[in-house]
């Protein structure tokens, strides 16, 4: 069974990993994939060794982090701010559900239509005629992604170039679909109503670690705590539930 290599970060490291445990449901001990990404110029905190080694360690208490070996992701860009209860019809109107996400051409088309269902008081998320959005990070209120179970919703956002959503809370099917597809990181704010603190177009940095997260708004100069992504992180990192299941041996057990 071929292991799927992760995409190397921009600074071109190569690495390999070998899961040391095969999992069988239901008593899954999740192997913790520990690796460090190179720090971007905007991250101020961690030392990173320049060589990347990935090894799966089994840990039932995966809460201990060794210094410098944190699971990290950093996203930087303009943010797009939304209110509460943004439902799936606003994220991708039903008339576009004829597009099949597993078809690459139609996947791209979904990206160009992300958030086209928003009321006209919002600015355009994807400029007309463009395939991708200029906004890498969405900041939203409560119950983001409510409504339908359509997977087209997180897919459209991911296809448009969104890397992470930082919302106050999520509707469960949308959250689950985001993790299963690996399309976006559905992060939750730990304090305050970010959708009131930030405005569309603000330059932000989102930093994610296993134990903590942070959103820095460079336009306002404020920092905001985020809840850690937790176990969903490695699944999204791997590229979704199937990729993760293959990597950790779960999929063989499940088809027994």
């Amino acid at each position: 069974m071929a292991s799927k290599a992760l995409q190397p970060p921009p600074c071109a490291f190569s690495f390999s990993f070998a899961p040391t445990h095969r999992l069988a449901p239901p008593s899954a001990r999740l192997p913790l994939l520990r690796y460090s990404w190179p720090s971007s110029s905007l991250s101020r905190r961690c030392n990173h060794s320049p060589t990347l080694t990935l090894h799966a360690t089994s840990s039932s208490s995966s809460s201990t982090l060794e210094g410098g070996e944190a699971v990290e992701k950093v996203f930087h860009g303009e943010c797009f701010v939304l209110d509460d209860n943004i439902d799936t019809d606003q994220i991708i109107p039903a008339e576009y559900l004829t597009l099949v996400p597993s078809n690459p051409e139609e996947y791209a088309k979904l990206g160009s239509l992300a958030l086209v269902g928003l009321p006209s008081r919002y600015p355009s998320f994807v400029a007309p005629g463009q395939p991708l959005s200029r906004y890498a990070i969405i900041i939203a209120g409560a119950n983001f992604g409510c409504g339908s179970s359509r997977e087209h919703a997180p897919v459209a956002l991911g296809a448009s170039g969104v890397k992470a959503v930082v919302a106050e809370s999520y509707a469960r099917i949308f959250f689950r679909n985001s993790v299963a597809t690996g399309e976006i990181y559905p992060l939750e704010s730990a304090e305050g109503r970010l959708c009131k603190e930030c405005r569309t177009g603000d330059l932000v940095t989102v930093e994610m670690e296993k134990e903590r997260g942070r959103l820095t708004n460079h336009t306002t100069g404020k920092e905001h705590k985020l809840k850690p992504i937790g176990d969903a992180g490695p699944v999204i990192e791997a590229g979704g539930i199937f990729a993760y299941a293959r990597k950790t041996g779960m999929i063989v057990a499940a088809t027994m």
């Binding site: 004829t98 099949v100 597993s102 339908s148």
Partner: protein
């Protein structure tokens, strides 16, 4: 150990060593044991599982398990269903468990994507886990010239043929739905009418309103394409056990109230995120008095409160409905008396009034009579929520009582072929033998359309009754977020079929008591 008997529902996963067989057969209750041991026990050292996994005494007839005293912990209905489906004797809320799926449903909007994922992950020539447990129901974008929509139904057909799917409710001739004997219509109603919903089982669908089937006392919830692709190949899904909110509805149901009013009342109470990650259990004398279709309306909108699933305990009403629809054996489960619920809400149904959900949220509740100055442009009666036979009978009752014509275009979209046939065949009580269709015609409604999901979710531009302009509509559907039925500025008032019909007659949002007193 000797006092515990082995009870397992999935025998092929349980193997006993010779030693264990000897242990069990030498117990004094060996005679009753033999009823529980499989006919052939495979003694296979490779697949030996050292632990005997059951701590329940065998259930005595007419004595529900909760009274035997040997159940370790009290569980809710949802917990029991998931426990059984995951072959566990006990579960805690918040636990993630692998669950065996009884039915997987998909339709024309999410089916192609699910199939794509299935083939990509399991292989181009992979076979589904069970050709009899997948139900494929084209229903969303059927009567349209949209090429992609039509292609999507073709994809379903190709896959069903390739996999020899037993239940594929195909449509070939879009110009005349009646020329398609297999075609059913709206998936959730088709599932119920075709006997695929059974108490105690686990039903998943690639549609948020799959929770509709909870009316049958089963665990039913919506999932995305990726999860569904996984289930297609493995027959299993990883689920987190939800805590349960209990809604106890007692009191006699007033004759101007319908289940739609009850669920809108509840959603208005707890908000659109009030049941997120939770199960909603509906009990009480009012619920017991509801028909299966009314129970479906109740469970259908659980998702609008963010709920994971809804359940109504199965009873004689359920069993009567299922008679003739399914020959499969099923085993209902019920919440233990001492089960823990997150919250319990009590309602005196006799005191409730007809309500609507104003634009633009299903929890924007208001009394129908307080919206009587809202001028409307059209009325839509249809969808899985409000397009069943009893929904149309209710609307017909209002038109009959009034005897007048509607003041606005009134669109009627039956959920399934069977509903459509009922409209033309069933006599409406108190009408002297008239059918719904006759009453609708006399009231000046549009002719009942081809059964499908229709304009509930807008759909392709040429969908019948789609709102392509910024108008105001009273609808028996389930969501009213901006743009739901098409135009972003359009306004949708969610209502019961009684309220919808009454509003059609006046041209304003109207409390049905105007016509029922």
């Amino acid at each position: 150990m000797m006092d515990f008997l082995c009870q397992s529902l999935h025998y092929k996963n349980n193997f006993l060593t010779n030693f264990e067989r000897k242990l069990l057969s030498s117990s004094s209750s060996a005679a009753s044991l033999s009823g529980f041991l499989p006919d052939s026990i495979h003694v296979n050292k490779k697949e030996y599982r050292p632990s005997i996994r059951a701590v329940m005494a065998p259930p005595q007839p007419q004595r529900p398990p909760s009274t035997t005293g040997l159940v370790k912990q009290a569980m809710t209905m949802t917990e029991k269903i998931l426990a059984r489906a995951s072959e566990r004797s006990n579960l805690d809320t918040g636990e993630n468990v692998w669950v065996n799926v009884d039915i997987l449903m998909t339709h024309d909007v999410c089916g192609p994507g699910t199939i794509g994922i299935f083939k990509r992950e399991f292989g181009e020539n992979a076979k589904v886990w069970d050709r009899e447990k997948i139900v494929i129901i084209p229903d969303h974008y059927i009567f349209t010239n949209d090429e992609l929509a039509n292609r999507n139904v073709d994809i379903l057909r190709d896959f069903s043929v390739e996999q020899n799917i037993k239940y594929f409710y195909d449509i070939n001739d879009r110009s005349n739905f009646r020329a398609n004997p297999d075609y059913k219509g709206v998936c959730h109603i088709a599932l119920a009418q075709e006997g695929h919903c059974r108490p105690g089982e686990v039903l998943l669908g690639t549609d948020s309103h799959t929770c509709n089937a909870g009316a049958f006392g089963q665990f039913a919830t919506g999932i995305g394409n990726t999860d569904a692709g996984f289930v297609m190949g493995t027959g299993k899904v990883l689920l987190k056990v939800p805590p349960t909110l209990r809604f106890v509805m007692d009191g006699e149901m007033p004759d101007y109230l319908l289940a739609k009013d009850l669920i809108l009342q509840i959603i208005g109470e707890i908000t659109v995120a009030g049941a997120t990650y939770k199960s909603m259990e509906f009990t009480g004398s009012t619920v017991e008095s509801l028909s299966m279709e009314e129970r479906m309306t109740l469970c259908n909108m659980v998702i609008e409160a963010g709920g994971k699933n809804g359940v109504v305990p199965a009873d004689q009403t359920t069993f009567n409905y299922l008679e003739g629809k399914t020959s499969a054996k099923f085993e209902p489960v019920y919440s233990d008396e001492k089960a823990k619920f997150l919250h319990e809400y009590k309602f005196d149904t006799s005191k409730l009034e007809p309500v609507v959900a104003k634009p633009h949220s299903p929890d924007n509740r208001a009394l129908a009579r307080e919206c009587k100055d809202v001028k409307i442009d059209r009325v839509y009666i249809g969808s899985c929520t409000g397009g069943k036979t009893e929904d149309f009978l209710a609307a017909a009752k209002i038109f009959l009582a009034s005897g007048k014509k509607v003041k606005v275009p009134t669109f009627l979209v039956p959920a399934t072929q069977k509903v459509w046939m009922d409209l033309y065949g069933l006599p409406v009580p108190g009408s002297g033998g008239k059918t719904c269709s006759q009453i609708f015609e006399e009231a000046g409604c549009d002719t009942p359309a081809s059964p499908n999901c229709g304009a509930c979710l807008g759909g392709p531009r040429d969908t019948y009754a789609r709102m392509n302009e910024a108008k105001v509509c009273v609808s028996t559907t389930n969501r009213n977020f901006p743009g739901r039925m098409g135009n972003k500025e359009a306004q949708i008032y969610l209502a019961s079929p009684f309220t919808a019909a009454a509003s059609a007659l006046t041209g304003y949002v109207t409390d049905p008591r105007e016509f029922l007193r």
